[in-house]
Protein backbone atom coordinates (compact mmCIF):
# COMPACT_ATOMS: atom_id res chain seq x y z
CA UNK A 1 0.00 0.00 0.00
CA UNK A 2 1.34 3.38 -1.00
CA UNK A 3 0.86 5.25 2.26
CA UNK A 4 2.85 8.26 1.16
CA UNK A 5 0.34 8.77 -1.63
CA UNK A 6 -2.58 8.29 0.73
CA UNK A 7 -1.26 10.94 3.08
CA UNK A 8 -0.47 13.27 0.23
CA UNK A 9 -3.98 12.91 -1.19
CA UNK A 10 -5.65 13.65 2.08
CA UNK A 11 -3.30 16.57 2.66
CA UNK A 12 -4.04 17.95 -0.77
CA UNK A 13 -7.77 17.60 -0.20
CA UNK A 14 -7.56 19.42 3.12
CA UNK A 15 -5.22 22.20 2.01
CA UNK A 16 -7.27 22.78 -1.13
CA UNK A 17 -10.37 23.22 1.01
CA UNK A 18 -8.53 25.55 3.32
CA UNK A 19 -7.60 27.86 0.47
CA UNK A 20 -10.60 27.42 -1.74
CA UNK A 21 -13.53 27.46 0.65
CA UNK A 22 -13.24 30.88 2.27
CA UNK A 23 -13.16 32.86 -0.99
CA UNK A 24 -15.63 30.48 -2.61
CA UNK A 25 -18.13 30.87 0.21
CA UNK A 26 -17.82 34.63 0.19
CA UNK A 27 -18.23 34.67 -3.55
CA UNK A 28 -21.25 32.37 -3.28
CA UNK A 29 -22.81 34.67 -0.72
CA UNK A 30 -22.17 37.68 -2.88
CA UNK A 31 -23.73 36.02 -5.93
CA UNK A 32 -26.66 34.78 -3.90
CA UNK A 33 -27.57 38.06 -2.30
CA UNK A 34 -26.91 40.65 -4.93
CA UNK A 35 -28.49 41.07 -8.27
CA UNK A 36 -26.81 42.87 -11.15
CA UNK A 37 -26.52 42.78 -14.88
CA UNK A 38 -24.18 40.14 -16.14
CA UNK A 39 -24.39 38.06 -12.99
CA UNK A 40 -25.37 35.00 -15.00
CA UNK A 41 -22.19 35.39 -17.02
CA UNK A 42 -20.08 35.34 -13.90
CA UNK A 43 -21.91 32.23 -12.77
CA UNK A 44 -21.22 30.72 -16.16
CA UNK A 45 -17.53 31.59 -15.94
CA UNK A 46 -17.28 29.95 -12.55
CA UNK A 47 -18.61 26.71 -14.03
CA UNK A 48 -16.05 26.61 -16.82
CA UNK A 49 -13.30 24.66 -15.03
CA UNK A 50 -15.66 21.72 -15.36
CA UNK A 51 -15.92 22.08 -19.08
CA UNK A 52 -12.39 21.54 -20.34
CA UNK A 53 -10.77 18.10 -20.11
CA UNK A 54 -8.59 18.08 -16.99
CA UNK A 55 -5.42 17.23 -18.88
CA UNK A 56 -5.99 20.19 -21.15
CA UNK A 57 -6.58 22.54 -18.25
CA UNK A 58 -3.53 20.99 -16.69
CA UNK A 59 -1.46 21.71 -19.75
CA UNK A 60 -2.53 25.35 -19.85
CA UNK A 61 -1.86 25.70 -16.15
CA UNK A 62 1.54 24.12 -16.60
CA UNK A 63 2.41 26.62 -19.29
CA UNK A 64 1.16 29.43 -17.06
CA UNK A 65 3.18 28.21 -14.10
CA UNK A 66 6.26 27.13 -16.07
CA UNK A 67 9.61 28.90 -15.95
CA UNK A 68 8.93 30.65 -19.27
CA UNK A 69 5.83 32.49 -18.14
CA UNK A 70 5.70 35.74 -16.27
CA UNK A 71 3.57 34.20 -13.57
CA UNK A 72 5.88 31.25 -13.20
CA UNK A 73 8.93 33.46 -12.76
CA UNK A 74 7.14 35.71 -10.34
CA UNK A 75 6.14 32.78 -8.18
CA UNK A 76 9.57 31.28 -8.40
CA UNK A 77 11.05 34.45 -7.02
CA UNK A 78 8.43 34.59 -4.34
CA UNK A 79 8.63 30.99 -3.17
CA UNK A 80 12.23 30.28 -4.06
CA UNK A 81 11.16 27.28 -6.07
CA UNK A 82 9.15 26.81 -9.23
CA UNK A 83 5.40 26.46 -8.88
CA UNK A 84 5.10 23.73 -11.47
CA UNK A 85 5.70 20.23 -10.13
CA UNK A 86 5.41 21.41 -6.54
CA UNK A 87 2.78 20.85 -3.90
CA UNK A 88 1.93 24.56 -3.94
CA UNK A 89 1.28 24.38 -7.66
CA UNK A 90 -0.89 21.36 -7.10
CA UNK A 91 -2.95 23.21 -4.51
CA UNK A 92 -3.49 26.13 -6.87
CA UNK A 93 -4.49 23.86 -9.73
CA UNK A 94 -6.70 21.79 -7.55
CA UNK A 95 -8.40 24.86 -6.08
CA UNK A 96 -9.03 26.21 -9.56
CA UNK A 97 -10.66 23.10 -10.95
CA UNK A 98 -12.77 22.74 -7.81
CA UNK A 99 -14.30 26.21 -8.04
CA UNK A 100 -17.59 25.00 -9.49
CA UNK A 101 -18.03 22.41 -6.76
CA UNK A 102 -17.35 24.90 -4.03
CA UNK A 103 -19.33 27.89 -5.25
CA UNK A 104 -22.54 26.44 -6.65
CA UNK A 105 -23.87 24.46 -3.69
CA UNK A 106 -22.97 27.25 -1.30
CA UNK A 107 -24.65 29.83 -3.52
CA UNK A 108 -27.88 27.85 -3.66
CA UNK A 109 -27.80 27.52 0.11
CA UNK A 110 -27.38 31.25 0.65
CA UNK A 111 -30.19 31.91 -1.81
CA UNK A 112 -32.50 29.73 0.21
CA UNK A 113 -32.24 31.91 3.33
CA UNK A 114 -35.50 33.79 3.62
CA UNK A 115 -35.85 37.53 3.33
CA UNK A 116 -37.41 37.58 6.80
CA UNK A 117 -34.25 36.26 8.36
CA UNK A 118 -32.06 38.76 6.53
CA UNK A 119 -34.28 41.59 7.66
CA UNK A 120 -34.31 40.36 11.23
CA UNK A 121 -30.52 40.32 11.21
CA UNK A 122 -30.45 43.90 10.02
CA UNK A 123 -32.93 44.97 12.67
CA UNK A 124 -30.81 43.31 15.31
CA UNK A 125 -28.06 45.72 14.32
CA UNK A 126 -25.69 42.99 13.20
CA UNK A 127 -22.77 44.06 11.04
CA UNK A 128 -21.96 42.32 7.79
CA UNK A 129 -19.56 39.89 9.43
CA UNK A 130 -21.77 39.22 12.42
CA UNK A 131 -24.67 38.46 10.11
CA UNK A 132 -22.42 36.30 8.02
CA UNK A 133 -21.07 34.11 10.75
CA UNK A 134 -23.97 34.00 13.18
CA UNK A 135 -26.87 33.81 10.78
CA UNK A 136 -26.02 33.13 7.17
CA UNK A 137 -23.25 30.60 7.61
CA UNK A 138 -25.14 28.36 10.05
CA UNK A 139 -28.24 28.47 7.87
CA UNK A 140 -26.27 27.71 4.71
CA UNK A 141 -24.48 24.88 6.42
CA UNK A 142 -26.00 21.94 4.47
CA UNK A 143 -25.07 23.57 1.18
CA UNK A 144 -21.59 24.38 2.40
CA UNK A 145 -21.17 20.81 3.52
CA UNK A 146 -22.21 19.69 0.05
CA UNK A 147 -19.56 22.00 -1.33
CA UNK A 148 -16.95 20.61 1.05
CA UNK A 149 -17.79 17.03 0.34
CA UNK A 150 -17.79 17.46 -3.42
CA UNK A 151 -14.50 19.35 -3.29
CA UNK A 152 -13.05 16.73 -1.01
CA UNK A 153 -14.15 13.83 -3.16
CA UNK A 154 -13.13 15.49 -6.38
CA UNK A 155 -9.69 16.42 -5.09
CA UNK A 156 -9.13 12.83 -4.06
CA UNK A 157 -10.20 11.55 -7.43
CA UNK A 158 -8.88 14.26 -9.72
CA UNK A 159 -5.89 13.14 -11.60
CA UNK A 160 -5.71 14.75 -15.02
CA UNK A 161 -4.77 18.19 -13.78
CA UNK A 162 -2.75 16.88 -10.87
CA UNK A 163 -0.69 14.64 -13.07
CA UNK A 164 -0.01 17.40 -15.54
CA UNK A 165 0.81 20.13 -13.05
CA UNK A 166 2.36 17.89 -10.44
CA UNK A 167 4.50 15.59 -12.51
CA UNK A 168 3.88 12.49 -10.42
CA UNK A 169 6.71 13.02 -7.91
CA UNK A 170 6.46 10.49 -5.07
CA UNK A 171 5.94 12.20 -1.74
CA UNK A 172 5.42 15.57 -3.29
CA UNK A 173 2.85 15.37 -6.05
CA UNK A 174 2.06 11.69 -6.48
CA UNK A 175 -1.44 11.40 -5.10
CA UNK A 176 -3.30 8.22 -4.45
CA UNK A 177 -5.34 8.71 -7.60
CA UNK A 178 -2.21 8.87 -9.73
CA UNK A 179 -0.75 5.95 -7.91
CA UNK A 180 -3.83 3.87 -8.64
CA UNK A 181 -3.77 4.98 -12.24
CA UNK A 182 -0.15 3.91 -12.54
CA UNK A 183 -0.98 0.51 -11.13
CA UNK A 184 -3.77 0.03 -13.64
CA UNK A 185 -1.51 1.13 -16.47
CA UNK A 186 1.09 -1.40 -15.47
CA UNK A 187 -1.55 -4.13 -15.19
CA UNK A 188 -1.04 -4.48 -11.47
CA UNK A 189 -4.74 -4.97 -10.88
CA UNK A 190 -4.61 -6.34 -7.39
CA UNK A 191 -2.69 -3.35 -6.05
CA UNK A 192 -4.98 -1.02 -7.96
CA UNK A 193 -7.99 -2.80 -6.51
CA UNK A 194 -6.71 -2.59 -2.94
CA UNK A 195 -5.86 1.06 -3.25
CA UNK A 196 -9.16 1.92 -4.91
CA UNK A 197 -10.96 0.16 -2.12
CA UNK A 198 -9.02 2.10 0.46
CA UNK A 199 -9.75 5.36 -1.29
CA UNK A 200 -13.43 4.50 -1.49
CA UNK A 201 -13.64 3.52 2.14
CA UNK A 202 -11.84 6.63 3.37
CA UNK A 203 -14.14 8.82 1.30
CA UNK A 204 -17.29 6.97 2.17
CA UNK A 205 -16.62 7.16 5.88
CA UNK A 206 -15.65 10.83 5.75
CA UNK A 207 -18.66 11.81 3.70
CA UNK A 208 -21.18 9.68 5.52
CA UNK A 209 -20.04 10.83 8.93
CA UNK A 210 -20.17 14.48 7.89
CA UNK A 211 -23.64 14.15 6.44
CA UNK A 212 -24.81 12.26 9.46
CA UNK A 213 -23.63 15.05 11.72
CA UNK A 214 -25.25 17.79 9.69
CA UNK A 215 -28.47 15.87 9.53
CA UNK A 216 -28.66 15.60 13.28
CA UNK A 217 -27.95 19.31 13.46
CA UNK A 218 -30.67 20.15 10.99
CA UNK A 219 -33.26 18.07 12.73
CA UNK A 220 -33.04 20.54 15.62
CA UNK A 221 -34.25 23.35 13.45
CA UNK A 222 -36.69 22.35 10.77
CA UNK A 223 -38.05 25.55 9.35
CA UNK A 224 -40.42 27.08 11.89
Amino acid sequence: MDWTAVILSVKLALVTQLFLLPPAILCARWLALTSFRGKAWIEGLLALPLVLPPTVIGYYLLVAMGGNSFLGRWFEELLGQPLAFSFSGLVIASALVNIPFAVQPAQRAFEAISLEVHEAAKCCGLTFWQTFHRIELPLAWPGILSAMMMTFAHTLGEFGVVLMVGGNIPGETQTLAISIYDRVQSFDFSAAGTMSLLLLVISLVTIAVSYGMVERLMRRRRSP
Binding site: E119, G125, L139
Partner: protein, 357 residues
Protein backbone atom coordinates in the same frame (compact mmCIF):
# COMPACT_ATOMS: atom_id res chain seq x y z
CA UNK B 1 -38.78 66.59 18.10
CA UNK B 2 -40.62 63.74 16.48
CA UNK B 3 -40.40 60.99 13.95
CA UNK B 4 -41.11 62.73 10.69
CA UNK B 5 -42.30 60.76 7.69
CA UNK B 6 -42.93 61.65 4.07
CA UNK B 7 -43.38 58.57 1.94
CA UNK B 8 -44.41 58.07 -1.66
CA UNK B 9 -44.35 54.86 -3.63
CA UNK B 10 -46.42 52.65 -5.82
CA UNK B 11 -46.65 48.88 -5.43
CA UNK B 12 -47.21 49.09 -2.43
CA UNK B 13 -49.10 52.32 -2.91
CA UNK B 14 -48.07 55.03 -0.43
CA UNK B 15 -48.65 58.76 -0.33
CA UNK B 16 -48.19 59.55 3.24
CA UNK B 17 -46.77 62.23 5.40
CA UNK B 18 -47.04 62.43 9.16
CA UNK B 19 -45.29 63.35 12.33
CA UNK B 20 -45.21 60.77 15.02
CA UNK B 21 -44.75 62.37 18.43
CA UNK B 22 -41.53 61.43 20.12
CA UNK B 23 -41.71 59.43 23.32
CA UNK B 24 -45.34 58.51 22.79
CA UNK B 25 -47.13 55.36 21.81
CA UNK B 26 -48.84 55.95 18.49
CA UNK B 27 -51.23 53.48 16.94
CA UNK B 28 -51.25 52.96 13.19
CA UNK B 29 -54.70 51.79 12.23
CA UNK B 30 -56.08 50.98 8.82
CA UNK B 31 -57.80 48.21 6.93
CA UNK B 32 -55.93 45.18 5.68
CA UNK B 33 -53.78 46.12 2.72
CA UNK B 34 -53.76 49.83 3.49
CA UNK B 35 -49.98 50.01 3.75
CA UNK B 36 -49.27 49.76 7.47
CA UNK B 37 -46.59 47.13 7.14
CA UNK B 38 -45.06 49.03 4.26
CA UNK B 39 -44.79 52.17 6.39
CA UNK B 40 -43.20 50.24 9.23
CA UNK B 41 -40.75 48.62 6.84
CA UNK B 42 -39.90 51.95 5.29
CA UNK B 43 -39.12 53.41 8.71
CA UNK B 44 -36.95 50.40 9.47
CA UNK B 45 -35.11 51.01 6.21
CA UNK B 46 -36.13 47.60 4.87
CA UNK B 47 -38.29 48.89 2.05
CA UNK B 48 -36.77 51.38 -0.33
CA UNK B 49 -39.37 53.77 -1.65
CA UNK B 50 -39.50 56.02 -4.69
CA UNK B 51 -39.54 58.98 -2.37
CA UNK B 52 -38.80 58.79 1.32
CA UNK B 53 -37.91 61.38 3.87
CA UNK B 54 -37.61 60.01 7.32
CA UNK B 55 -35.98 61.72 10.22
CA UNK B 56 -35.98 61.17 13.94
CA UNK B 57 -35.71 64.31 16.02
CA UNK B 58 -33.66 66.01 13.34
CA UNK B 59 -31.43 63.01 12.59
CA UNK B 60 -32.01 62.19 8.91
CA UNK B 61 -32.64 58.52 8.19
CA UNK B 62 -33.82 58.85 4.63
CA UNK B 63 -33.40 61.84 2.39
CA UNK B 64 -33.39 62.35 -1.35
CA UNK B 65 -29.76 61.39 -1.41
CA UNK B 66 -28.92 59.33 1.63
CA UNK B 67 -30.27 56.11 3.07
CA UNK B 68 -29.13 55.14 6.53
CA UNK B 69 -28.72 51.37 6.66
CA UNK B 70 -31.13 49.52 8.91
CA UNK B 71 -28.48 48.43 11.35
CA UNK B 72 -27.59 52.02 12.12
CA UNK B 73 -31.14 53.07 12.90
CA UNK B 74 -32.01 52.76 16.53
CA UNK B 75 -35.07 50.59 15.97
CA UNK B 76 -36.62 47.46 17.32
CA UNK B 77 -39.02 45.68 15.01
CA UNK B 78 -41.60 43.01 15.63
CA UNK B 79 -42.49 42.08 12.06
CA UNK B 80 -45.91 40.78 11.17
CA UNK B 81 -44.49 37.30 10.60
CA UNK B 82 -42.14 37.22 13.60
CA UNK B 83 -39.02 36.34 11.52
CA UNK B 84 -37.13 34.50 14.22
CA UNK B 85 -33.79 32.89 13.43
CA UNK B 86 -34.71 29.24 12.94
CA UNK B 87 -31.32 27.88 13.96
CA UNK B 88 -31.13 29.68 17.28
CA UNK B 89 -32.88 28.98 20.55
CA UNK B 90 -35.13 31.57 22.12
CA UNK B 91 -32.20 32.76 24.20
CA UNK B 92 -29.98 32.82 21.13
CA UNK B 93 -32.53 34.83 19.22
CA UNK B 94 -32.74 37.49 21.89
CA UNK B 95 -28.99 37.56 22.47
CA UNK B 96 -28.42 38.16 18.79
CA UNK B 97 -29.91 41.60 19.23
CA UNK B 98 -27.41 42.28 21.98
CA UNK B 99 -24.17 41.69 20.12
CA UNK B 100 -22.81 44.99 21.40
CA UNK B 101 -22.79 43.79 25.01
CA UNK B 102 -20.21 41.55 26.71
CA UNK B 103 -21.39 38.00 27.06
CA UNK B 104 -22.46 38.08 30.70
CA UNK B 105 -24.49 41.26 30.45
CA UNK B 106 -25.96 39.85 27.27
CA UNK B 107 -27.33 36.84 29.07
CA UNK B 108 -28.64 39.02 31.87
CA UNK B 109 -30.42 41.48 29.62
CA UNK B 110 -31.82 38.70 27.41
CA UNK B 111 -33.26 36.92 30.42
CA UNK B 112 -34.88 40.15 31.51
CA UNK B 113 -36.48 40.76 28.11
CA UNK B 114 -37.69 37.19 27.90
CA UNK B 115 -39.38 37.66 31.25
CA UNK B 116 -40.92 40.95 30.18
CA UNK B 117 -42.33 39.31 27.06
CA UNK B 118 -43.85 36.53 29.15
CA UNK B 119 -41.96 33.66 27.59
CA UNK B 120 -39.76 32.60 30.47
CA UNK B 121 -39.20 28.87 30.66
CA UNK B 122 -38.88 28.55 26.90
CA UNK B 123 -35.28 29.84 26.64
CA UNK B 124 -33.90 26.61 25.25
CA UNK B 125 -36.60 25.96 22.66
CA UNK B 126 -36.11 26.52 18.96
CA UNK B 127 -38.69 28.57 17.04
CA UNK B 128 -40.32 25.53 15.47
CA UNK B 129 -41.07 24.20 18.94
CA UNK B 130 -43.08 27.28 19.89
CA UNK B 131 -46.71 28.18 19.36
CA UNK B 132 -47.62 31.14 17.18
CA UNK B 133 -48.18 33.46 20.11
CA UNK B 134 -44.99 32.37 21.80
CA UNK B 135 -43.03 33.18 18.66
CA UNK B 136 -44.58 36.60 18.56
CA UNK B 137 -43.55 37.25 22.13
CA UNK B 138 -40.00 36.09 21.49
CA UNK B 139 -39.90 38.54 18.59
CA UNK B 140 -41.08 41.21 21.02
CA UNK B 141 -38.37 40.30 23.50
CA UNK B 142 -35.79 40.55 20.74
CA UNK B 143 -37.12 43.90 19.57
CA UNK B 144 -37.02 45.56 22.97
CA UNK B 145 -33.66 44.06 23.91
CA UNK B 146 -31.59 46.89 22.47
CA UNK B 147 -33.65 49.63 24.08
CA UNK B 148 -34.28 51.15 20.68
CA UNK B 149 -35.33 54.75 20.34
CA UNK B 150 -38.08 53.70 17.97
CA UNK B 151 -40.04 50.53 18.59
CA UNK B 152 -41.96 49.34 15.55
CA UNK B 153 -44.62 46.79 16.41
CA UNK B 154 -46.50 45.27 13.49
CA UNK B 155 -49.55 43.64 15.01
CA UNK B 156 -47.45 42.27 17.84
CA UNK B 157 -50.33 40.82 19.79
CA UNK B 158 -52.42 39.36 16.97
CA UNK B 159 -51.77 35.77 18.02
CA UNK B 160 -51.93 36.32 21.74
CA UNK B 161 -54.83 35.70 24.05
CA UNK B 162 -56.51 38.40 26.11
CA UNK B 163 -55.00 37.42 29.41
CA UNK B 164 -51.42 37.40 28.22
CA UNK B 165 -52.11 40.48 26.16
CA UNK B 166 -53.10 42.40 29.26
CA UNK B 167 -49.83 41.55 30.94
CA UNK B 168 -47.99 42.60 27.82
CA UNK B 169 -49.88 45.89 27.69
CA UNK B 170 -48.76 46.55 31.23
CA UNK B 171 -45.17 45.64 30.51
CA UNK B 172 -45.12 47.67 27.34
CA UNK B 173 -46.48 50.69 29.10
CA UNK B 174 -44.05 50.31 31.97
CA UNK B 175 -41.15 49.93 29.54
CA UNK B 176 -42.31 52.93 27.64
CA UNK B 177 -42.60 55.01 30.77
CA UNK B 178 -39.10 54.05 31.79
CA UNK B 179 -37.40 54.62 28.49
CA UNK B 180 -39.61 57.20 26.85
CA UNK B 181 -39.01 55.67 23.46
CA UNK B 182 -41.22 56.28 20.47
CA UNK B 183 -43.53 53.37 19.79
CA UNK B 184 -45.44 52.82 16.58
CA UNK B 185 -48.02 50.12 17.03
CA UNK B 186 -49.88 48.63 14.10
CA UNK B 187 -53.15 47.15 15.18
CA UNK B 188 -56.59 46.22 13.93
CA UNK B 189 -57.98 46.29 17.38
CA UNK B 190 -59.40 49.68 18.26
CA UNK B 191 -59.67 48.68 21.91
CA UNK B 192 -55.98 47.91 21.89
CA UNK B 193 -55.27 51.28 20.33
CA UNK B 194 -57.46 52.95 22.92
CA UNK B 195 -55.75 51.20 25.79
CA UNK B 196 -52.17 51.62 24.69
CA UNK B 197 -51.77 54.55 22.38
CA UNK B 198 -51.96 58.21 23.15
CA UNK B 199 -52.01 59.06 19.46
CA UNK B 200 -53.57 57.40 16.48
CA UNK B 201 -52.93 57.54 12.76
CA UNK B 202 -55.73 56.35 10.59
CA UNK B 203 -54.68 55.34 7.10
CA UNK B 204 -56.30 53.86 4.04
CA UNK B 205 -54.95 53.12 0.57
CA UNK B 206 -51.58 54.38 1.69
CA UNK B 207 -52.96 57.79 2.61
CA UNK B 208 -53.39 59.50 5.94
CA UNK B 209 -57.05 59.90 6.81
CA UNK B 210 -56.84 61.34 10.27
CA UNK B 211 -54.24 61.82 12.96
CA UNK B 212 -54.52 63.00 16.50
CA UNK B 213 -55.08 61.92 20.05
CA UNK B 214 -56.55 58.47 20.26
CA UNK B 215 -59.76 59.31 22.10
CA UNK B 216 -60.44 62.24 19.80
CA UNK B 217 -59.94 60.21 16.65
CA UNK B 218 -61.97 57.31 17.97
CA UNK B 219 -64.98 59.39 18.94
CA UNK B 220 -64.72 62.19 16.38
CA UNK B 221 -64.09 60.80 12.89
CA UNK B 222 -63.28 63.56 10.45
CA UNK B 223 -64.99 62.12 7.42
CA UNK B 224 -67.13 59.26 6.26
CA UNK B 225 -64.18 57.04 5.37
CA UNK B 226 -62.72 57.48 8.83
CA UNK B 227 -66.07 56.71 10.39
CA UNK B 228 -66.25 53.54 8.36
CA UNK B 229 -62.77 52.49 9.42
CA UNK B 230 -63.61 53.19 13.03
CA UNK B 231 -66.51 50.83 12.61
CA UNK B 232 -69.16 53.49 13.17
CA UNK B 233 -72.26 52.29 11.37
CA UNK B 234 -74.46 55.36 11.82
CA UNK B 235 -73.43 57.71 9.04
CA UNK B 236 -76.24 59.64 7.41
CA UNK B 237 -76.94 62.48 5.02
CA UNK B 238 -78.85 65.55 6.09
CA UNK B 239 -78.99 69.21 5.21
CA UNK B 240 -77.49 71.78 7.51
CA UNK B 241 -79.45 74.93 8.22
CA UNK B 242 -78.35 77.86 10.33
CA UNK B 243 -81.02 79.27 12.58
CA UNK B 244 -81.23 83.05 13.05
CA UNK B 245 -80.03 82.61 16.62
CA UNK B 246 -76.67 81.50 15.25
CA UNK B 247 -77.44 77.90 16.05
CA UNK B 248 -77.38 75.09 13.53
CA UNK B 249 -79.94 72.45 12.79
CA UNK B 250 -79.90 69.32 10.70
CA UNK B 251 -82.88 68.49 8.51
CA UNK B 252 -82.95 64.75 8.44
CA UNK B 253 -85.97 63.66 6.46
CA UNK B 254 -88.96 64.78 8.50
CA UNK B 255 -86.78 65.23 11.61
CA UNK B 256 -84.87 68.20 12.83
CA UNK B 257 -81.77 67.70 14.91
CA UNK B 258 -80.28 70.43 16.96
CA UNK B 259 -76.53 70.32 16.86
CA UNK B 260 -73.74 72.05 18.68
CA UNK B 261 -72.83 75.38 17.13
CA UNK B 262 -70.55 75.03 14.16
CA UNK B 263 -68.98 77.87 12.26
CA UNK B 264 -66.80 75.94 9.92
CA UNK B 265 -69.39 73.89 8.08
CA UNK B 266 -71.42 75.89 5.56
CA UNK B 267 -75.10 75.23 5.16
CA UNK B 268 -76.13 72.55 2.66
CA UNK B 269 -75.87 68.79 2.32
CA UNK B 270 -73.73 67.27 5.02
CA UNK B 271 -72.99 63.86 6.48
CA UNK B 272 -73.16 63.20 10.16
CA UNK B 273 -72.39 60.28 12.40
CA UNK B 274 -73.53 59.04 15.80
CA UNK B 275 -71.74 56.33 17.76
CA UNK B 276 -74.06 53.38 18.51
CA UNK B 277 -73.32 53.55 22.21
CA UNK B 278 -74.32 57.21 22.24
CA UNK B 279 -77.89 56.59 21.19
CA UNK B 280 -80.18 56.87 24.19
CA UNK B 281 -83.24 54.76 24.61
CA UNK B 282 -86.17 56.72 25.98
CA UNK B 283 -87.77 54.62 28.64
CA UNK B 284 -91.46 55.24 28.46
CA UNK B 285 -92.07 54.94 32.19
CA UNK B 286 -89.50 57.56 33.12
CA UNK B 287 -90.30 61.24 33.58
CA UNK B 288 -87.66 62.65 31.19
CA UNK B 289 -89.63 65.69 30.12
CA UNK B 290 -87.38 68.49 29.05
CA UNK B 291 -84.33 66.25 29.06
CA UNK B 292 -85.47 64.84 25.78
CA UNK B 293 -82.97 66.07 23.24
CA UNK B 294 -83.62 65.38 19.54
CA UNK B 295 -86.10 62.54 20.09
CA UNK B 296 -86.55 60.24 17.09
CA UNK B 297 -89.38 57.74 16.77
CA UNK B 298 -88.21 54.39 15.48
CA UNK B 299 -89.26 50.81 15.02
CA UNK B 300 -87.06 47.95 16.15
CA UNK B 301 -85.97 45.71 13.32
CA UNK B 302 -83.55 43.35 14.85
CA UNK B 303 -82.03 42.59 18.23
CA UNK B 304 -78.73 40.68 18.41
CA UNK B 305 -77.16 39.67 21.70
CA UNK B 306 -73.38 39.72 21.81
CA UNK B 307 -72.03 38.40 25.08
CA UNK B 308 -73.20 41.01 27.58
CA UNK B 309 -74.20 43.59 25.03
CA UNK B 310 -77.06 43.96 22.64
CA UNK B 311 -77.04 45.42 19.17
CA UNK B 312 -80.39 46.89 18.17
CA UNK B 313 -81.19 47.87 14.58
CA UNK B 314 -83.74 50.64 14.39
CA UNK B 315 -85.78 51.80 11.44
CA UNK B 316 -86.22 55.57 11.64
CA UNK B 317 -89.78 56.71 11.08
CA UNK B 318 -90.16 58.71 7.87
CA UNK B 319 -86.80 57.64 6.58
CA UNK B 320 -87.36 54.23 5.16
CA UNK B 321 -83.86 53.53 4.01
CA UNK B 322 -82.18 54.63 7.19
CA UNK B 323 -81.08 52.12 9.78
CA UNK B 324 -79.82 53.26 13.10
CA UNK B 325 -77.56 50.94 15.12
CA UNK B 326 -77.79 51.18 18.89
CA UNK B 327 -75.58 49.37 21.41
CA UNK B 328 -76.88 48.68 24.90
CA UNK B 329 -75.74 46.59 27.81
CA UNK B 330 -77.80 43.42 27.92
CA UNK B 331 -78.98 44.36 31.37
CA UNK B 332 -80.70 47.46 30.08
CA UNK B 333 -83.11 45.26 28.17
CA UNK B 334 -84.06 43.18 31.16
CA UNK B 335 -86.29 45.87 32.50
CA UNK B 336 -87.44 47.32 29.16
CA UNK B 337 -87.71 44.33 26.91
CA UNK B 338 -87.47 45.28 23.28
CA UNK B 339 -88.32 42.90 20.52
CA UNK B 340 -88.38 43.08 16.79
CA UNK B 341 -91.33 45.24 15.76
CA UNK B 342 -91.75 47.27 18.89
CA UNK B 343 -91.74 51.04 18.62
CA UNK B 344 -89.26 53.02 20.62
CA UNK B 345 -88.07 56.57 20.80
CA UNK B 346 -84.38 57.33 20.93
CA UNK B 347 -82.46 60.51 21.57
CA UNK B 348 -79.49 61.81 19.61
CA UNK B 349 -77.93 64.35 21.94
CA UNK B 350 -76.58 67.34 20.09
CA UNK B 351 -73.10 66.90 21.58
CA UNK B 352 -73.04 63.34 20.25
CA UNK B 353 -73.78 64.31 16.66
CA UNK B 354 -70.55 64.42 14.66
CA UNK B 355 -70.51 66.49 11.50
CA UNK B 356 -68.31 64.90 8.82
CA UNK B 357 -66.35 66.74 6.18
Amino acid sequence: MSLFLELRHNGPQLDFSAEIPKGQITALVGPSGSGKTSIIRAIAGLLKLKHARISLAGEAWDTERAHLPTRERSIGLVPQHHGLFPHLSVMGNVETALSHLPSQQKRHRATECIRLAQVEGLEGRHPHELSGGQRQRVALARAIARNPQVLLLDEPFSAIDRGTRKHLYLELRRLHNQLGNTVLLVTHDLDEAAQLASHLLLIDHGQLLQAGETTKVLTRPRNEQAAQLLDIPNVFSASLEKTPAGLAELRWGPHRLQIAATDRTPAGRVKFAVLPQNILLVKTDKPWGSHLENPIPTQVQDVVALGGEVLVSLQVKGLNEVQLQMRLPERALRRYPITSGSEVTVCLRSSDIILLE
